[in-house]
């Protein structure tokens, strides 16, 4: 019993980073932009939030939790928005290829994160590992009382506020996509920008807004990982392949953020399943960690074979739209 509770709780802990990334990428892809820079943006968001908190804690004689959380959120969102803006500027305004820009952004972002994560303490004149315990305690804070209830407390309330934000964000984004005018028009832009344009929708503005917002969500995923999961410290290449899993999750979720909630928990579970299966050799454990990708590939093939139009990637995904080409 305890093991299962633990397993579920850990799966959800693993899921949140991917959920942020996937929700952001769904919004982005709905506008027709395939942003393969998500893994890089997670690094950028994570390190920026960490640096913000670090310099605040270092500069303030008695740092407060609330200010620390606020500063790190602000830095994270600003930096990842800038990264998204860069992507959109290059792909929409300068019409560069989305795959190429996305991959370059991932290279850059990964380097950016690892570089500052590795050298920030040295640059700041300190020594050793950087930690922002005060700020992290804010991210890790649980709801008092509720989280002490056995089982339910662990499974439902054993998380920091960003976890709930991620789930809420997924629900809100789904609502926006399915039930609002903005969501409808965003879908139209991603499906057929020429038709959307003819209907009087400003295609460029939608693409910019969706991609920048999507990047900010991916950045939050990075911040969650650094602050809540790692407890306010930097692990080199610590994100592993979570960024790409987020991109994979978009496919699994069939471009619906609420599906990404279950999907991310499934991925999280598959990600750590090997720990809970007794008698696995270390080698076999590694094979187990392949599962999320294999599942994604199967879903990708199955949807392309079944060919239900709603389950397909947005029609114009990865393509640039230029009005005069019409």
């Amino acid at each position: 019993m305890n093991v299962i509770v633990m397993f579920i709780q850990q799966a959800i802990v693993q899921a949140i980073t991917m959920l942020f990334g996937a929700t952001g990428e769904i919004i982005t892809e709905k506008s027709g932009n395939l942003n393969l820079g998500v893994p890089g943006i997670m690094y950028i968001g994570g390190i920026s939030g960490l640096m913000g908190a670090f310099f605040y804690e270092k500069g303030s004689p008695s740092p407060s939790v609330a200010v620390g959380v606020f500063v790190s959120l602000l830095c994270c969102l600003a930096a990842s928005a800038l990264a998204g803006l860069l992507f959109t500027f290059l792909t929409v305004t300068l019409r560069a290829n989305q795959n190429v820009v996305g991959l370059a952004l991932t290279t850059f972002g990964t380097g950016f994160g690892n570089f500052f994560g590795g050298s920030i303490s040295k640059l700041a004149g300190g020594v050793g590992q950087i930690t922002v315990k005060t700020t992290a305690s804010g991210f890790q804070a649980r709801i008092p009382g509720l989280s002490n209830i056995p089982v339910i407390g662990t499974v439902l309330f054993g998380y920091g506020f960003l976890s709930y934000t991620a789930i809420l964000l997924a629900i809100v984004c789904t609502y926006i996509l399915k039930r609002t005018r903005v969501g409808l028009q965003l879908t139209a832009v991603g499906e057929d920008p020429a038709t959307a344009d003819a209907a009087g929708i400003n295609v460029g503005r939608y693409k910019y807004a969706a991609t920048v917002l999507g990047s900010m969500m991916a950045g939050l995923g990075g911040l969650y990982f650094i602050m809540e999961y790692l407890g306010g410290t930097w692990g080199n290449n610590g994100f592993g392949d979570r960024g790409w899993l987020a991109v994979a999750l978009v496919i699994l979720a069939l471009w619906t953020p609420t599906h990404a909630i279950w999907g991310s928990i499934l991925f999280g579970a598959l990600y750590i399943l090997y720990i809970y299966i007794p008698g696995l050799s270390r080698a076999a454990q590694e094979l187990f960690r392949m599962a999320p990708y294999v599942v994604t590939i199967i879903v990708l093939v199955a949807t392309s074979k079944r060919n239900r139009p709603e389950d397909q990637p947005p029609k114009s995904l990865g393509l640039s739209y230029f009005r005069e080409d019409r």
Binding site: R179, V182, A188, E191, T195, A199, P309
Partner: protein, 515 residues
């Protein structure tokens, strides 16, 4: 009937390069009437209407809407004036529902109250007698349902003046009837409607008045009740024009292509061809006449092995050889049998050529497999490219220029040059002179004549009846996917052809949309 004009065009002209699409056209749409605009392909109907819908801007002339002079710069301006156009190609997003497509781009509260929107749409559809489920997704719809969505979309935006561009081209007779009922309802509700068409029976059935265009010029407007199909045909096709095309009698004609009971459905599941039978002979030019979209494309692609055939047979009999069935073969297999079957398709850059490649590489498309071994030979194609450029007077900086940088006429010359070069046994051409100037056109006619003299079996799909009558030996007339008849080009008149093309009567039973 209210006698003031909903739309009045005065001396409107539009040129595209060297082509005069509309030449000082003046016409009037009265309030609350249905006006048909009648004309052959290329007579400038759609261009004229696109100036009302804001897609083109006229070179000269004035437009009045409800008695006031207006400038229509964009589709938005057109909307604001209450003009709504239903294009032939629908602008709908397949994964969205009808209702979602209808409200796309409209202002309103953020939260979409689909119940309320559906109710509004249902009220509208009920008023005019449409059958439409607002919650149905577009990809689940038949062509006629999609058209209904387009019409409702325009009405929902408050249009008083509706322009329908060949709305019945994609409809079955039953669907056409239903559309006409709706149009009559809209008329009695005070809407003014323009319907572009070239089907005479429909003109007679639906419209109050008919405006006829011919080769970009306005001919006349007549009251439908004062005219008949014969008179309209005369107005539409005009006097016979002599073109001075050299035509020799057929050269030793013998059967090459024998098509029997060919039936083809397009990807929408609608019959594109039904029970088509004919023969094409060597040493003669067989013309194919018909309103655009009557199955010409599918016919040629079936023979070329590029179309899935539902039933029927296509036989090819080579000179001194054994007859083979082509209907089960793909283009690849036909090629492998060394059958010299050349094809100049309608969509030149989309099917016949590769736009990003240069002339030499495009020449290779038919011959690259020649020779043994894994290597291509570029010497012969290069020589061919030079020959074609030289002989057909292709205007290009050189043979290494990518095809897509050439003008339409020059692209066509490259394509025709390549297809003729292989000394084909059968040469199929779709709209060989579309987009070409007079001199180039005559060059192509001359080349076709040469192929005929050589003993080639030429099948030529055309749109200009004058040309077909003076170029071809026999003409196969298609009407809505069936054979309306095969006539002798030397003795037939334009009027007969026009009437056969637009008859569309004997096929009404056959065409059904099972989607």
């Amino acid at each position: 009937m209210n006698e003031t004009a909903a739309i009045e065009l005065k001396n409107v002209s539009k040129r595209f390069g060297s082509i005069q699409a509309n030449d000082h056209v003046s016409l009037t749409l009265r309030k609350g009437e249905i006006l048909s605009i009648l004309g052959e392909n290329g007579s400038g109907k759609t261009t004229l209407m696109n100036m009302l819908s804001g897609i083109y801007f006229p070179d000269e002339g004035e437009i009045f809407v409800n008695g006031k002079e207006v400038t229509i710069r964009s589709p938005k301006d057109s909307h604001a004036l209450g003009i709504g156009m239903i294009h032939q190609h629908f602008k709908l997003i397949p994964i969205l529902t009808a209702a979602q497509n209808i409200i796309l781009g409209l202002p309103g509260p953020q939260r979409l109250d689909m119940k309320k929107i559906d109710a509004n749409i249902n009220a509208l559809t009920k008023k005019y007698g449409f059958e439409m489920d607002p919650e149905q997704r577009i990809y689940d719809m038949s062509v006629s349902q999609k058209q209904t969505v387009e019409i409702v979309k325009v009405l929902y935006r408050g249009a008083d003046i509706l322009i329908l561009d060949e709305p019945t081209a994609v409809l079955t007779p039953q669907e056409t009837e239903r559309l006409f009922d709706v149009l009559r309802n809209m008329k009695s509700a005070g809407k003014s409607i323009i319907i572009i068409t070239h089907k005479l029976n429909e003109v007679m059935e639906i419209s109050d008045r008919v405006a006829v265009l011919r080769k970009g010029k306005y001919i006349a407007t007549v009251d439908t009740k004062d005219t008949d199909e014969m008179k309209l045909t005369e107005m539409m096709v005009g006097e016979k024009i002599s073109l001075d095309i050299d035509r020799i009698p057929p050269v030793d004609p013998e059967k090459r292509i024998d098509v029997q009971h060919l039936t083809v459905r397009n990807h929408e599941g609608v019959y594109a061809l039904q029970d088509v039978s004919f023969t094409a002979n060597s040493g003669e030019i067989l013309g194919v006449a018909g309103i655009s979209g009557s199955g010409q494309k599918e016919l040629l692609e079936s023979i070329a092995g590029l179309q899935r055939i539902e039933s029927g047979k296509i036989y090819y009999t080579p000179k001194d050889g054994k007859t083979v069935a082509l209907d089960t073969m793909r283009a690849r297999q036909i090629y492998a049998l060394n059958i010299h079957l050349s094809f100049v398709p309608e969509d030149r850059l989309g099917m016949g050529l590769v736009g990003t490649m240069d002339i030499t590489d495009n020449m290779m498309l038919r011959s690259y497999k020649n020779g043994n071994g894994p290597l291509t030979d570029r010497k012969a194609p290069r020589e061919l490219a030079e020959r074609v450029v030289d002989k057909l007077e292709v205007n290009t900086p050189g043979i290494t220029t990518p095809i897509r940088n050439l003008s339409g006429g020059n692209v066509q010359k490259v394509l025709v040059g390549r297809e003729i070069a292989s000394s084909p046994a059968v040469l199929m051409m779709a709209y060989p002179v579309r987009g070409l100037d007079i001199n180039s056109s005559f060059l192509i006619y001359h080349l076709l004549g040469e192929q005929k003299k050589r003993g080639c079996c030429v099948i030529c799909v055309g749109e200009d009846l004058d040309v077909l009558l003076q170029l071809c030996d026999r003409i196969l007339v298609l009407s809505e996917g069936t054979v309306a008849g095969v006539v002798d080009a030397r003795t037939t008149t334009k009027e007969t052809l026009g009437a056969m093309m637009t008859s569309g009567k004997h096929v009404q039973e056959g065409r059904k949309a099972d989607v």
